[in-house]
Every structure is written in C-alpha cells, then in structure tokens.
Symmetry: C3
Subunit: 335 residues, 3 copies
C-alpha cells in the first residue's frame, strides 16, 4: 500500500445551456477538470533511476458508471523509467498538446471552451482532450535545459496487416520554453493516413494522405493580469491546400487572494465557406482551499451559416447560424 497513492478529482456542476429552442438543465461531471480516480507510484532504483507508473481512469460523477466505463475509460496508463536522460514510458499516454493547450487556454472549464470545441471539430490531435491520449505509445520527455523541454510521442495503430503497417500511427513533438513570466510552446503533429485503417478520432474521413498540424501558444504574466494566445492549423489532407485555423486570446485577472476572473475569445477560420465561428467566455474561480474550488461562468458561441457548434444544449432538430449560450456553477475537489 505504501507503493501506491490513490488520487483523483471530483468535479460536478449545475449547467444551463440553450441552442435555439433546445434547452439543457441538469447536473454534469467535470467542469474545471474531468472527474477521475487514479493510482500512481514510483520506485527508487538507485543511481538516479526511478520506475514510475500511473493508472488514471475517468469517472462520471452524475451517472450510473463505474471506474472507466464510459467512452473515456482511461485517461492515461503507463509505466516508465526516469533518470538523467529524462523520462521514457510506454502505454496510453498524453501527447504534449494536452499539457500545452491546458496551459494557454484560459477558459479552463473544458466542456465550455470554444477553442476546444473548434479545434476538436477540425480533427486536431493537439488539444486538452481525448485526441491527445495516445494508445500503444512510447513517450519521451527531456530534462529541463534552462527552461527548455522537449516532448515526443509515437503511437502505434497496430493494423497488424501486410501493407501500410504504419497507417494511423501518430507522431507528435513539442518544445516548450518557460522563464519567469514568459512561456512559449510549439508543436508539430501528424497522423499517417490510410482511408481503410485509421483509428476513430484520428481520421480526416476518406483520405489516404498524412494529416499535418501545427500549434503555437504563449503567455506572459504581468501579475495584475496574465495574457495568453494560441494558434492551431490543421492541414486537411482531403482537399489540396485546404487549411483549418483556430486562434484564441485569453486573460486571467486575480481579483482577491482566493478569486480570479478568466476571459477568453476564440475564432475558427476554415477554408470551407460558411464554417467559421467565434466564441467568448467569462468565468470566476474562487478557492475555498488549495484542494477545493467553486466556479461559475458564462460562454457564448456565434455560428456561421453552415455550423451548429453548441456547448451544453443539444443541436438536434435545430438550424445552423444560431447562437449557443451556457451557464455553469460548480465545485472542483482534488484528493
């Protein structure tokens, strides 16, 4: 038992959402962060070498679900070695995009982040969500070189066939520089495509070409306000020269020892006509302790003539070109 730390997050909120005539009204799991239950530990092997493991599962606090029985079953599962060379692990692991986006996206209420919604719709693998969770992967994280770290991951799609044995394999590499108030992160990601053998969530449907993607994020902390920016471009391999771009700006304003206001704006700029959209959010976080935070906020997305993005409310049976609005109030408890 001394070898294992049991940890997790219990996060639950009341949400109200509206999209055209549809309204959502209820209790949901995972506002600031996905609710989870995890088991981790490390063993000192001598000579500065350590064995590490993490087993982390999604929990759905509001529903009749078990430990990792929903669509998102495991968040991450790996075992690896850490030493002077950095960290190398194998299992189901996060691509660097997960951590970089989480660092620069000030709309930290994941289900209500317009930026997250827009890059997800573009099939991005650089996001603070499941498309950054890589099965069958080998992951390398470098030591910290004066503020600079490099992180590279390779995920096997394991098609187990004669031809196109790398079809669906994902490769992603990121570099991040942190120094005092400054943080900058850059990522390149690609998925080897083969229309017949691409895992769900990776594909640009019907394409046999490699999907390529870039991300740049940065933040500067002025103390009275921390400002952030992000830019993501997914090269859609199905159409020559077709790019889908999303950018975002954000700010975090401390208003008291325990409270902060968080603002964000995101804009999707896609090559296909009438598929743009933009959204903004305003949230307030209030810490009751280091482990327990109350939060509330509002988000709004404006859709284009051909889009139907919504956050909490269903879009079923409703038209395009409508606004989606959402309100939440919740509690996040880390254990």
């Amino acid at each position: 038992q001394s070898n294992v730390t049991v940890y997790g997050i219990a996060d639950v909120y009341y949400g109200f959402g509206k999209y055209d005539d549809n309204k959502f009204n209820g209790i949901e799991s995972g506002g600031i962060a996905g609710s989870r239950l995890g088991f981790k530990g490390s063993e000192d092997l001598g000579n500065g070498l350590k064995a590490l493991f993490t087993l982390e599962y999604s929990i759905d606090l509001d529903k009749n679900e078990g430990v990792g029985t929903t669509g998102l079953r495991s968040r991450q599962q790996f075992v690896g070695l850490q030493g002077g060379f950095g960290f190398i692990g194998a299992g189901r692991q996060y691509a660097p995009g997960y951590f970089y986006v989480a660092k620069y996206d000030t709309s930290a209420i994941v289900p209500l982040s317009p930026y997250h919604k827009f890059v997800g719709a573009n099939g991005s693998n650089i996001q603070a969500g499941s498309a950054s969770r890589v099965n069958n992967s080998i992951n390398y994280i470098s030591p910290d070189f004066g503020g600079l770290t490099v992180n590279a991951i390779y995920g096997f799609n394991e098609v187990n066939q004669d031809n196109n044995r790398t079809a669906g394999d994902l490769a992603q590499i990121g570099a991040q520089y942190n120094n005092g108030p400054v943080s900058v992160g850059l990522i390149y990601s690609q998925v080897k495509q083969d229309a017949a053998a691409i895992p769900a969530g990776y594909a640009i449907a019907g394409s046999d070409e490699t999907k390529k993607e870039w991300f740049l994020g940065a933040s500067y902390d002025f103390k009275v306000v921390k400002v952030t920016g992000m830019y993501n471009t997914v090269k859609d391999a199905t159409v020559d020269g077709d790019d889908n771009n999303v950018w975002a700006l954000g700010a975090i304003v401390p208003v008291s020892a325990a409270g902060s206001v968080r603002l964000s704006y995101a804009s999707a700029d896609n090559d296909t006509d009438d598929t743009d959209a933009d959204g903004w959010t305003v949230y307030y976080f209030h810490s009751l302790s280091k482990r327990t935070t109350l939060y509330t906020g509002y988000a709004r997305i404006s859709n284009d003539d051909a889009t139907r993005h919504s956050l909490l409310a269903s879009t079923a049976g409703q038209g395009t070109d409508e606004n989606a609005s959402s309100f939440v109030v919740g509690v996040n408890h880390t254990f």
Copy 2:
C-alpha cells in the same frame, strides 16, 4: 493517499432457490449487503465547513466483472459541502427511501426480501435498491434537530428538449425522528411523467401523469425484541384511482452476544385483480467480529393467480400461483 479511504464490502453466499419445477443452485454476491468497493474522503475548510466526496462502485464477487461493470455500476458518486446548515451535495446520490427502508426492513438479506420484491414490482422509488439511486441529483440533508432530520433530493432527467423539460425528474422528501427506542420515518416521492421521456426504472409505462408515492415506517426497540413496520403506497397514474400498497412487519430477536434471529412478513395489496402476494422470512445472523458476519435463512413467497414473484429461482417457463422458496448461507466481510 492520506486524502482517500478505500473501503468496501465483500459478501458472498451459497443459495438454493425453487420456483415450481425450476431450481437455482450456486454462489452469489451480496446477501446482507451488496458487495462494493469505495473511495471517500473529506477536507476541513475551516469555520466548521467541510468538503466531502464518495465514489462507490458495485462489485460482483462471483463473476468475471470489473469495478462497476454490471448493470449496477455505481452505487453512489457525489461531492458536497457540510456545515452548520447540514449537507448539500451533487452527483448520483441516494434518495432518503434507501436509508429509511434499510432501517425498518428486518429481512436484511436484500435479494431475499419479499417487501423489496413487492415494492419493486410496483415501480416504487422508495426502496433499498437502485430505484433510490438518483442520477444528476442535488441532495440536502438537514442537521439533527433534537432527533428530527429532513432529507430532500431532486434529480434532473436532462431530457434536453424544448418541451416537458422536467419530464422524468424525480423529487423526494423525507423526515425521520429517532429518540431512544423509537424511530419513525415518513417519505413523499414523485416522478414527473411524460410517456416519451422517462428514464428506465422510473416509469409507469405509457403514462403522462405524475407518479406519486408515500411511505411510512417505524420501529420500537424493547431490548428483548425490536419490532418494525412499513407501509408503502404507489399511486398508479395510468388508471384513475388505482393504488398499489405493500405493508410489512418485522422483528429482531437477540439470542446471544453474537447472534440474532430476524423475522419478517410482507403483503402486497394491489388494485388489479389477482396480483396480490405475500411472503415471510426467517434469518439468523452470527457475528465473528464487528466486520465479519455469517448468515443463513429461508424465505417463502406465495403468489396470486396472476403473479410470478420469485427470489433466487428463475420463473421462466413456469406458471403463476406457485410458491417460491429460497435458502441461503453466506459471509459478509466489511473492510
């Protein structure tokens, strides 16, 4: 890890059941109490305020099942705040019916309780079973006012549609008074009906009217014997003025420092012709320690011309108006 307590119950029994020509013979999980694995903790926030969480999953000790992978996946999952005002929580939580019935039903071997069988068949949400586990719920428990506590829960069905947005929402309120040897509990429960949007387990099929239900339970502890009684009435919204009633009497007789005999009788009195039934049980519990109890007992149900209630044995291919009998011997270990 110091933030989390891992706890649970491992309960397994040998059971033999007979219904007409069918016979069951085997090992089952969960006699006195459903086998479970849970994770819970609390954080002191100062000023008498506490954050609490509980994550509790069903386990099926006799089968190839994981942590919450059967039909009953989570027993309860919530996070909440406790203070001078009482407790308020959000998640998947127990309605007061769960605790009240468990307190007054002396046939504490849940799968072999005729009362539990009869109220379940009436679609009751006041029972020591899953119909009292409320998804998407807000729950309030009052402080103890000289023996009196009040408990109210509201569960959103989250239909996410334009009309009838409260269809399937459950509301239940209970009051319980405990003072020395006396205990009395009263509950009102309702489910907003809408034939097209009712969650499984809540519905009286095909009805658009609100299902309404009352429960009254009481016990008195004479020391040489503790006696209990319960009454439950479900107003069947599908037929005007049609009520389904179940009542039960029970007794717990301590026979030694470690052993007690438990007796119960339950009777279903329904408005539809030939759907009555009654049943009785006799159990013996023997504690090996505070955490480990051996148990054995016998239950019998007498069916009416149109009922086929059985406890362990299947009724498949068999007629109505038969008797169901069951015998169990098992062990319950709390950890």
Copy 3:
C-alpha cells in the same frame, strides 16, 4: 484504509510478430504477467481464524480501458476463512491448474508461451490463463503437510433449469509436493457437459459427455540450472478415445545476480491428423530491483498442415503450415 492493501502489476512491452505475410508491430500490456490492479486485506478473528478478501482486476495498460472493462474483467474476487483446517473461500477463484502451470512453465512471458497456446487450443482448464478462473466457485486449500498440499475447487454453472442442473459445473483437484529442490504437481479436472448449457471457454463443442483432463508437472533445481517438465492430456468427449496431449520441457539458467536465461520447448500431439505443432522460446530477464524487471526474448512456433497457431501476429487471410515468430522487449513493475 488500514484494512485494505492496494497492489498490482504494470507490465508493458514492445512486440514484433510475424505469421506468413502478416506482421504485428506495437505496444502491448502484460508480458511476464498480466497488468492488474488489486485490493486485498485480512482480519484476525481470534483462535487462529482469519477472514481474507481479494479483489483483483485486469487492466489494459496500452488501451482506452478502465478497471476490468476488457474481456478479462476480474482476475479473481473472493472472500474466505483461513484457519488450522486450511482455507475455504467463495467467489471467482483460481483452480489449482493456474498456479501449478505458472510454476513449471519457464516461458514465463504468458502471451508468448507455446505450451499455453497449445493447451488453450485443446480447451484445457489446467492453464495459467482465464480457463482456470472459476466463477461461482467454492475453493479449498489444505494446510501444508510436510511439503504436501491439496487444493480442490468446484464451480457452479448455475443453469437454473429443471434438468441437467450440474451441466457445465467444473471440478478440479490438485496435489503438490515441494521439498528442497524437488517439486511435483498432479491435477485432475472435469467439466460436466451438456451441449445446450456449457459456459464459454469450457466446452468441447456439441458434446454431451464429461470433459476429463490430467496434468503432471515437475521441477528440479540444480542451482546452476532449474529444469522443469509438464504433461497435459485432454480427453475429447466428442470422439471416442480421442486424446489431445501437450508436453513441455524448460530450463532456467541464472547468469548473474540480476539476470537469468529461460528456455522452453513445447509439443502438441493430437489425435486428429495434421493438428500437431511445436514451439520453442528463449528469454532473458534482468531485475532492476525486486519490483522492477526488464525482459526480452524470442519465440517460434512450427505449424502442421492443419494448424495456424500464432503468438503476436494475426493469422487472418494466411495459410496453414507456416511458422510464427515473435520478439518482445518490455518492463514489469510490481506495486
């Protein structure tokens, strides 16, 4: 929490496999031992009596899976009593075959054991795999009588029907003698057959007769090398007098304080024409600590005119009478 020990194994490897034109290339979970997460504890009841429980679940380290959500959900789940009489438990428990085979099979990389592959193909219930995990079972393990222990298990199939109520019930009994360098184990196992009511993994398809099976294993530790042997025969009830036999030899050679070489050879000798096969393995294990082991190795199976046994690579679309080869390198971490 003091009542529960959280434990487990995180084992992950890179594997390359080839069968004819098919090639597998990827990261898999569970080389030396299946990755798992478990919860166990015991309670002293006085007079030399103890209550014990174990809840142990399969985890799939490389995939989006929860705690026991794959085909192998629970490895074992039981509660029992231990005393001067030995141990008696109820739940989902291991037949003695699991432990005996694990003791004598030197190709301790389970997914790459030819012996495991061959006895599995014969429908054996004496193996270091799921066919030795018995649902709805009562298990008895004797005390140690001067090196001799006896272990018997009975699993109910719970057909819950009028006739053939023991159809699919499994009974297995084993005796093992350990004394200094010598170890010998003998097992008899049977499954009551009934073509219409046999659990998956138990059946010899279409047969109404009882499946009978014998196992003999032994090892002798010469210090510079430990040698082992196994013999398994499954009496195929579908054909009169038809037996399927597998035998294996193995050796473990310590080559340093931390390293050992493991060799094995296995041969399947079946009555049906052209269904024989043989295979050999060579592995190297290197301990970084008592809890963390690196491993690598190679396995090869030679198929007969009518067999298509493969370890890592798929056989889909490929012919019979081909060789299957596999290479792995991995890490096993116990916590």
